[in-house]
């Protein structure tokens, strides 16, 4: 933490404005206030051209969602597929994935902060629109939901129905709930802005080039990034959940559940960035798995599931970034999830269902599993955090 910056002050003012509005007799104005603040904050980060690009991204989605809202009869496969494809194509172009980089000719390509999370919310809206007729919908709700400043940068990815429920409960919480929310907010800020930065520099893999760097240094580099990432990410999430709680909104989903105590990578993804995992499972893995099973038949259930898992994790990795290391990260996690499933199957075959349960829940086995899983995740996060070539060079020189 180097000082209180413009962004910190801006966020603090936005948060305090919302809290004041929620606690006041004019809490009915909460949605317009939230809408204006969110657009205002986004506006300070985007150039005019970025705003135009964002409009190009959101406007068709808004129109399509409005068209489909509460009308399941209008939701044909072609209609939803075309809008989702449009959104994905624009996302790939704006993010400038290497193979599809069409913005190379531009001196200042588009840079829309929060686009990755907006993509998820918009796709969710488009796909669920036919069944959400009982919830109110309009331009301000759409914009507030998609660009809401408290979930713009790093989630959590909230469902629209939860968003509407939350808006309905805006108000001053009880003293007990307010203190709990404030406590969570402050804890989150300390985690994200005081503790997390301590681990940024020690995670720099280039430090292993120093003469005299030892095994301890390698372990520091290995552990520092996972620690930083968790503190930063979960701290930010806690702060936003706390802020929402102070406004009486208790429907922001939890995002972390002690992820480094996971027994395997599959368990890890049910504890890490949970709202993201739910979205991926619901909108990517399950439809993909179903499609493959339908096409290949249930005789090929295992290959279909393996394929669906790998595609899901490759796309998961690519969503995080445009370089190859992110895709490799995804692949490594996909392989680990498949491995977990196969290992579980072997255990069940050898020990029976009850025997397998007793084995995996044995404290020693659980402890070893947690340690192994953490180290596997830490190593994959090293891939996540560094370009592949640089990482190989440094590690080769260090170990070699």
């Amino acid at each position: 933490m180097t000082g209180i910056s413009v962004n910190h002050i801006g966020f603090a003012l936005a948060g305090l404005t919302l809290i004041t509005c929620a606690w006041s007799p004019w809490r009915a104005a909460f949605l317009p206030v939230f809408f204006v603040l969110s657009l205002g904050i986004l506006g300070t980060w985007l150039r005019p051209f970025d705003m135009l690009a964002l409009g190009l991204f959101l406007l068709p989605a808004l129109l399509m969602t409005g068209y489909l809202w509460g009308h399941p009869e209008r939701a044909s496969g072609i209609v939803t597929a075309s809008i989702v494809t449009y959104l994905l194509v624009l996302f790939v172009i704006f993010r400038r994935y290497p193979i599809f980089d069409m913005l190379e000719w531009m001196n200042h390509p588009v840079a829309i902060i929060g686009l990755s999370y907006m993509l998820f919310r918009v796709i969710h809206l488009v796909l669920e629109a036919p069944r959400m007729g009982q919830y109110p919908f309009g331009i301000s709700r759409f914009v507030a939901y998609v660009t809401g400043f408290w979930t713009l940068l790093a989630g959590p990815i909230q469902r629209y129905d939860d968003f509407c429920t939350g808006l309905g409960s805006v108000g001053r919480p009880s003293d007990r709930d307010a203190v709990a929310a404030a406590h969570r907010l402050v804890n989150g800020l300390i985690q994200a802005f005081v503790l997390a930065p301590l681990f940024v520099e020690p995670a720099n893999i280039d430090l292993l080039k120093a003469e005299g760097a030892s095994a301890v240094d390698f372990l520091i580099v290995l552990y520092a990034f996972p620690i930083y990432l968790y503190l930063n990410f979960s701290g930010y999430t806690d702060a936003m959940i706390g802020l929402a709680g102070l406004c009486g909104v208790t429907t922001l989903p939890e995002n972390f559940d002690r992820p480094y105590l996971s027994r395997n990578v599959q368990d890890f993804w049910s504890r890490w960035h949970m709202s993201f995992g739910v979205w991926i499972k619901h909108y990517l893995f399950m439809p993909l798995n179903k499609a493959l099973l339908t096409r290949w038949g249930f005789r090929f259930e295992l290959p279909a599931t393996i394929t669906a898992v790998m595609i899901t994790f490759l796309l998961l990795g690519a969503w995080h970034g445009t370089n190859a290391n992110f895709v490799v990260f995804g692949a490594l996690h996909g392989i680990a999830v498949i491995g977990t499933g196969l290992y579980g199957g072997i255990l069940k075959w050898r020990l029976g269902r009850a025997g397998r349960k007793a084995f995996v829940e044995h404290p020693a086995v659980r402890a070893v599993a947690i340690v192994l899983c953490f180290h596997y995740v830490a190593m994959t996060l090293m891939v996540f955090n560094n370009p592949l070539e640089k990482m190989f060079q440094v590690l080769k020189a260090f170990f070699g």
């Binding site: 004041t20 606690w23 307010a178 503790l195 301590l198 760097a213 240094d217």
Partner: protein
Amino acid sequence: MAHRSHTLAGRLFFWGIVAFGVLTFTEALFRYVIFPEYRSLGEDLFERHPVIGYFNRPDMSVVSYSPGNYKTAIRTNSLGLRGAEQTMGADLSGVWVGGDSNTFAKGVAEEKTFVRRLAQYGYAAANISSEGHRLSQQALVARYLAKSHRPRAIVIGISLPQAIADYSNEFVNLTRPLTPDAGFAGIRMITPRSELRHAFSKAVDLFPRSLLALRARLMGSSAIYGWLKVGIGAVPWAVKTLRDSGLIADLELTVKGDLNLRRPFGPQNPMQAQVDSTADFAKAFQDWTRKTLNVPFGIVIYPTYHQMYPEHFRRYMKKFNLEGEDLIPIRSLDALRTALQARGVPVLDLLPALQSSGLAALTFPSNGHLNANAHAPVAKAVAHWLESDLGVPPVKAPR
């Protein structure tokens, strides 16, 4: 859902949030409207230098509010010397005027510093000083610059009493190779372990453990605090109140250095050895200048506040029950001047020039550094001394 709190804790919590909101809004207002220059208060003008140790940041253009509410533009050239890049070559071909904070003159506009004013007397001059620099560090600066420039003379300004010190371990600065020092961060071994230690020690520093630390943290990060600190200097009764309460320095009651610097000098005075050491180093510096550059060298002594205003020293003595003790501020200046002259080092004592200037105030109100007005008689005295004692004539402008 809405709850009105009926408990004291609940109401306190509510008003706490309101207070925080007001504070945040006020800070934003000060940052963007009222005092956007607050960042300059905490800006560091100096950085590590691979050869010199610490020196002025090069290519700098900042607004400084030090001391107090004296707003000054500070700029340095690509070598870190105070002054413009365009005149750097010509300045470095003139007289090198080095020293510490009195020569750097942070609170004085550049054109008002005595170094710049020397131009009126026909002397191009380069300001090679840096805050906090002693003779030994200025020796490194001179040696570093001498690799590619040649002056007409080198003059080093030294401020009492801090310039008087034991230099016995610092003569090496006149001879050691000018290569990066292994003790500096530029080539220190940075490993994950050292970065982790460094990060945690910085984290501990986040929580100020003293009023001074808190003030340092607020400086440059809070526009409200910065504005108050600067603005309060323009409110005489506020300054007096803060001074009387001890929250800001009272120059008359601030005495730096060992009290023995005010006692009679001689073998019985423990500070005599340091005066001799200082003069010895100045002599060695002079010898290097003559041998390497074959140009004149001299020392300019800036007197202390109490040396300029001995009557105010009596207030200090009264406050700390020192009446009856044989303490006279001028003694250290006399001792150093005598020691330098005994070693054949040309020395200019600025006290007579300052006292005869007729100026009511020679220093900043809460800071013992020479103010802009005082730099005028200093420039005149230095110009005269350069010609009469160092034999460096002014350069007449071509007709």
